[in-house]
Amino acid sequence: MKKFVIKVCVFIIVFLSIVIGLDYLSMTEQYRMPLAKLTNSEDYISVNVGPDEIKPYIKKAGETNEYTQLIIGDSVCRQMFDGLQQYNSEICILGSNGSVTMTGQYILAKLFIESHPETTDIWLIVLPTALKGGFGLRYGYQYAVMPFVETDTLQYLEQDTIDEMADIYGRFFLRKDVVYAIDRSGINRKIYLNALSKKEQVQGAEVGEMSVLYICKIMELCEENDIRLHMLPGPVSDANEDSEYMCELAKEYSISPLMEMFPEYLNQIKYYPAEQFGDGLHFSGDYANQQQYNKKIWEIYGESGLMEFLRTE
């Protein structure tokens, strides 16, 4: 028995060494894609998702230039405003993704303010769903943890928030070398994200504590630097207009500190026919072009003051 156990152990060690070696190769530029293809995990690294999508925004927010205003927000904000950057030399447009949560918006705002002392206004444009906050299992890691860790911006967050991330994703997976291993290798990302997705997470319609905390922190930053903060809603499908979710959210919002800070937020929501939305959130088909976006931008934000600065052509 002893001989058998020793042989099995040696075999396992040899086999694991080879597996670790292959895993290392899957992180190198030369073998990254071939190994990802071999294991059907190329989708995890071939498209511009997760950290590769968010890191450029973090980089852009920290660059020094002439911008005096900042637009931050979720993917709907990005869809509508991204095409307008070329017409606006004073407004930095950084609509990113809802999965970065308010912590990501805070990091972008903080970096921008630090590198742009002349900032006058920050426009936070998010869908009501962004207010529920919390880190999602699958996207939260890719869109929040990975880019924050890789750009060393995780330190800007409260220790409680980092602890919450550690509870959800595991403290080991907040380490820079581990995040790098998951980012570089399609195999590692596939294994880890699938393992994450097996965990259960229930999210209700409540206005999340974390969202409130980081909106307040953005507000504090703005007040310290004499900047005006505006929070505006994104366009919403009329399928949600009288939904239970929106009613519950409105109730929650009315008793949250946000009501005092942005009392008009919910009233400013504009609903559009459901057929204009491909996935219920983003415009699609004939409604997904800058001309249509500009029309809607005027309709929704015409009275908010944003259009006094924003050029649409």
């Binding site: 028995m1 058998f4 597996v19 294991t39 059907n40």
Partner: protein
């Protein structure tokens, strides 16, 4: 717990280590505990059902032993009551819904009033396997082939032994119960061969069966979108899927038991190299074929009583085999088809022999064997269509498509060959057929490997494991596929 789950990778080494560390006397208790844990990790409630089957058959066995030389009538009452009781349990959990559904349909056709609640019972995993094993034991005790087991825990282990609990092989008390009562020391060769057999079983399941399942499932679930030729291709793939799925399970089960020092019966012997349907059933699911032969076909009269009775017995046995597999008309038809093949084979035997003589065919040459194997494979595969279909209606529809819409060009046009896993799947099937072919000719791959040096052997093992790992990673994130025979 599935063999192909992460939990089993932890469970099995612990069971083996503890098994060999603890004293011989208590090993069966440990294995019994492990087996119930294995079963209860699927559904704890149904372990009670297995316990009921265990206790009733154990009691019946001991009562039959007690009355052996006293009262034959009592013995008959006991065995009849025991078999009826256990078949009733199987009937309620497996066939009640089917019976009620058919009664409802019959009442509708006959325009009779019939109301019965809809039955929605979860089928306990492995119920058909352990019920048959338990009934087989009681019949063996009744016949005096074995002595009744006095120790209920040892008998409990015989019924619940985890490697073969949920999908066989259906063990005989003469083999398994005997080994449970014997002392067994750790044997290096056994353990090594067991692990290699398990590895081969995993290869069959993960590298072939699961990959074939992706194609088969997509075609069978939308069969109206395909032509007959594509359905035929899917059915051929299903033939390999079910072989590698069930054969894989059996290899893992036999290998796992071997590591624990217990030799289970063979369940497969290169079935697709069979030269006739009779030969096929000597090679496919051998433990069930033997069970049905010994406890059903022979008691029905077997070959005795003339050709007519023999054919009747064959048809009944095969149809019950079909019903054993699943509560559905398609399973009964599948069994009936095999019965029909067997009957026809017997009826045409003389004519076929005469033809061979007239045409002076050398029956030992390769081409004749290949011809026989191809015909057998085609017949078996045709029957698989009924087995795999979701119901009798689907099976008939598919048969219609095969006959009336057989467009060969569709095979290429509908991208079946372009599915990414196809090359790997084809290679996997070829490898398995090659290994089976070598076994048929008497070359054992394991023995050939044994003759090589350790570096070459380990390189082969590592290559196979790495390939398995790649297959697992390719499918990672998708729900783990269950073994087909778990549902029976």
């Amino acid at each position: 717990m599935n063999f192909n789950s992460q939990a089993f990778l932890l469970f099995f080494p612990i069971v083996v280590l503890v098994h060999y560390i603890i004293p011989q006397k208590v090993r069966y208790i440990w294995l019994l505990f492990a087996s119930y844990y294995f079963y209860m990790s699927w559904n704890p409630k149904y372990a009670f059902l297995m316990a009921i089957v265990t206790i009733t058959t154990w009691l019946a066995g001991n009562l039959l032993e007690k009355y052996r030389s006293r009262s034959e009538l009592n013995r008959k009452i006991i065995i009849a009551a025991c078999i009826v009781f256990n078949l009733c349990i199987l009937g309620v959990f497996k066939y009640l819904g089917f019976v009620i559904e058919n009664m409802r349909k019959a009442a509708y056709v006959l325009q009779l009033a019939f109301s019965a609640p809809t039955v929605d019972i979860i089928l306990p995993v492995g119920i058909s396997f352990y019920t048959f094993q338990a009934i087989g034991y009681v019949i063996d005790v009744y016949r005096g082939d074995v002595k009744a087991e006095r120790n209920v825990l040892k008998y409990g282990l015989f019924i619940s032994f985890f490697p073969q609990l949920v999908a066989g092989p259906i063990e005989r008390s003469k083999n398994l119960l005997k080994q449970i009562n014997e002392e067994n020391d750790f044997d290096y060769q056994n353990a090594r061969n067991g692990l290699l057999l398990m590895m081969w079983g995993f290869f069959e399941k993960i590298a072939v069966a699961d990959k074939a399942a992706v194609i088969v499932d997509s075609i069978y679930s939308n069969y109206m979108d395909y032509s007959g030729s594509v359905i035929m291709l899917a059915t051929v793939l299903f033939a390999f899927q079910i072989y590698c799925d069930f054969g894989g399970y059996s290899h893992i089960a036999i290998g796992a038991a071997k590591v624990l020092g217990i030799h289970l019966s063979d369940n497969f012997r290169q079935p697709y190299y069979a030269v006739s349907i009779k030969d096929f059933w000597k090679r496919w699911h051998i433990s069930l074929s033997n069970w049905l032969r010994d406890y059903l076909y022979i008691p029905l009269g077997g070959n005795r009583g003339g050709k007519l009775l023999k054919n009747r017995n064959l048809l009944i046995t095969f149809m019950i085999s079909g019903l054993w597999h699943g509560a559905g008309w398609n399973y009964i038809v599948w069994g009936g088809l095999h019965g029909f093949y067997s009957v026809m084979s017997g009826m045409t035997q003389a004519i076929r022999k005469k033809c061979v003589q007239i045409l002076r065919i050398n029956t030992k040459c390769f081409s004749w064997r290949l011809f026989q194997r191809s015909i057998t494979f085609a017949l078996v595969t045709f029957a698989w269509m009924f087995f795999r279909a979701s119901g009798m209606r689907d099976a008939v529809d598919m048969l219609g498509l095969v006959i009336f819409r057989f467009d060969f060009s569709h095979l290429f046009r509908q991208n079946v060959f372009l599915l990414s896993s196809n090359r790997q799947l084809t290679a996997g099937i070829l490898l398995i057929m090659m290994v089976d072919g070598m076994n048929v000719r008497g070359y054992r791959v394991r023995e050939l490997l044994d003759k090589q040096n350790i570096i070459f052997r380990w390189l082969c093992y590592i290559a196979l494991l790495l390939y398995l790992l790649i297959c697992v990673l390719q499918n990672y994130g998708a729900p783990a596929s269950r073994f087909i025979y778990f549902q029976f």
